[in-house]
């Protein structure tokens, strides 16, 4: 799926996604609502079992954020065929740099991801779209937000923010 994503990182993210889902009382095969650039559909999520007795060993927010990254990166590949190039420093306004090699032309995609443990993802999605819009030296800017209470994942395109310089 993402050959340039280090295996230890992928396992850690998937493990935290499992914790984020199971602490919200979800079981394997839970329905995931999808909002891909405002086209609504649904899918099914499955994951390796998590040991909730060890959840206190993890930072609460990191479970949500890293878990969201696992779900969003899987979604980005499954539905857009994007592949991870590398992680970016936060000052680049995005978490990941991916490549979109469909249609024979390679495009570089900035993807900012965030997770919401409880409640709506709408406000966070707006916030992340505004953030990734500032990303430079990329062809496309996208934000992905994953909600774990009622599993939902949104992947939206952001217009480039034009600046003076």
């Amino acid at each position: 799926m993402h050959p340039r994503l280090p295996t230890d990182l992928a396992l850690l993210m998937v493990g935290r996604a499992a914790l984020a889902l199971e602490r919200n009382a979800h079981a394997q095969g839970v329905r995931l609502s999808l909002d891909l650039e405002r086209v609504l559909s649904s899918g099914m999520l499955s994951w390796p079992g998590a040991d909730l007795s060890k959840i206190d060993q993890h930072d609460h927010n990191r479970i949500t954020e890293d878990g969201a990254e696992a779900v969003a990166l899987a979604l980005a590949h499954r539905h857009r065929a994007w592949r991870v190039i590398r992680r970016m420093q936060r000052e680049e306004h995005a978490d990941w740099l991916l490549e979109d090699a469909r249609e024979g032309v390679r495009q570089v995609v900035a993807l900012e991801i965030s997770g919401v443990d409880r409640g709506s993802i709408l406000a966070r999605l707006s916030e992340k779209l505004a953030q990734v819009a500032k990303s430079t030296d990329v062809d496309q800017r996208w934000a992905g937000v994953v909600g774990f209470e009622e599993p939902i994942a949104a992947l939206h395109f952001a217009k480039r923010e034009h600046r003076g310089n």
């Binding site: 340039r4 190039i85 590398r86």
Partner: protein, 137 residues
């Protein structure tokens, strides 16, 4: 080393540095130094005309500053500014250094009134390396 391998390494290094920083763990500066080295290797492998090359150049300078290695950050920035780079990259590199200098001046307000920025940066480096008692030595 191939860029794919470097990209995988830099992803892991940034991840580790962010996790350490989140928990306020002191060796985060060492982790950022590792990020800076890997970004520098990527910058060597990728031309400045490529978007990933420009991202790596900004990353090398930024991570060096996060590591508290001001001399390295300025040396890298000078080298990248000397390249035939797009104006946007040169502006971004100068902005990274300026913003760090401003952050430094506000963090060390008293020092910045009495010393130049370079002196304040040296003071910060010595403080980071040796602690408060090291400065008195």
């Amino acid at each position: 080393m191939e860029t794919d391998a470097l990209n995988a390494l830099v992803s892991g290094a940034i991840w580790r540095a962010e996790q350490l920083e989140t928990h306020g763990i002191r060796p985060a500066s060492q982790a950022w130094a590792e990020v800076s080295s890997l970004e520098e290797e990527l910058a060597k492998a990728l031309a400045v005309s490529e978007s990933e090359g420009r991202i790596a150049r900004r990353g090398a300078v930024r991570a060096a500053l996060k590591a508290g290695d001001y001399a390295r950050a300025h040396a890298l920035a000078d080298a990248y500014l000397a390249e035939e780079a797009p104006r946007s990259l040169k502006t971004a590199l100068r902005k990274i250094l300026e913003e760090d200098a401003q952050a430094m001046a506000s963090r060390f307000r008293f020092a910045s009134r009495h010393h130049s920025l370079r002196e304040a940066q040296d003071l910060a480096r010595r403080f980071r390396e040796a602690g408060a008692f090291g400065l008195a030595a």
